[in-house]
Amino acid sequence: MSKAPKLKSCVITNNIRKLRFHANEMTQQELADKTGVTRQTIVAIENGKYFPTLELAFRIAALFNTPLEDVFIVRFS
């Protein structure tokens, strides 16, 4: 029987910068405008200084036509 993983802490990273690059080098401002937030919020998310709400996370994923888990990557420790 496999041991259940400990889910006490996790590290969340994201691929937004890469996804923007593959989406015709979309700018942070364009992404901000399309998702209804400020550019500073996009900057903070990309730098891991802010974790968006589920709603915004889904909006970003939908914009890139990508599953959520390809935009945000979680690693449990």
Binding site: V37, T38, Q40, T41, A44, N47, K49, Y50, P52
Partner: protein, 148 residues
């Protein structure tokens, strides 16, 4: 520096300017030489009631002057739109300011329980209001820089 950080710094500076300036004005015009007024509730009531509109108008004027100055110097408009991150930071900052004001309120009540003059309580109210506002703005700057 983000626009929101600049606005928070402006708020700290303008709060210090307005509270300090108003306190000096009231002291030199109404208190200096006639210290008996310090224990007059009517005096403190009027002083607080006048401070509110003076503070609002002064904040608006300073904000407009800062926005014009910022546009001239950086050729950029101040970002005033808010989103979920701003609201999150605002909530955390308001919580901190409430705690600071409650601490000031408790100190004011303790001063009265200890038999200190009435003016000590009112001065503590002014100070705790100023400290609460400053703590809130400093917390915002820290959250914008460090992240939440």
């Amino acid at each position: 520096m983000e626009s929101k950080e600049k606005l928070s710094l402006l708020s700290v500076a303008s709060s210090a300017l307005i509270t300090g300036g108003y306190s000096i004005y009231v002291y030199s015009n109404y208190i200096s030489g006639q210290e008996t007024v310090l224990n007059d509730f009517s005096f403190w009531g009027k002083a607080f009631l006048v401070l509110i509109p003076v503070s609002i108008v002064a904040h608006i004027v300073l904000h407009i002057v800062f926005a014009i100055g910022n546009k001239i110097v950086t050729n950029e408009d101040l970002e005033t739109a808010t989103d979920e991150r701003d609201r999150h930071i605002e909530l955390k900052a308001v919580r901190i300011s409430h705690w600071v004001f409650i601490a000031g309120f408790l100190l004011a009540m303790i001063s009265q329980a200890a038999g200190m003059p009435v003016w000590v309580m009112f001065v503590l109210f002014v100070l705790s209001g100023f400290m609460a506002s400053t703590a809130s703005e400093i917390a915002k700057i820290i959250y914008y820089r460090r992240g939440i």
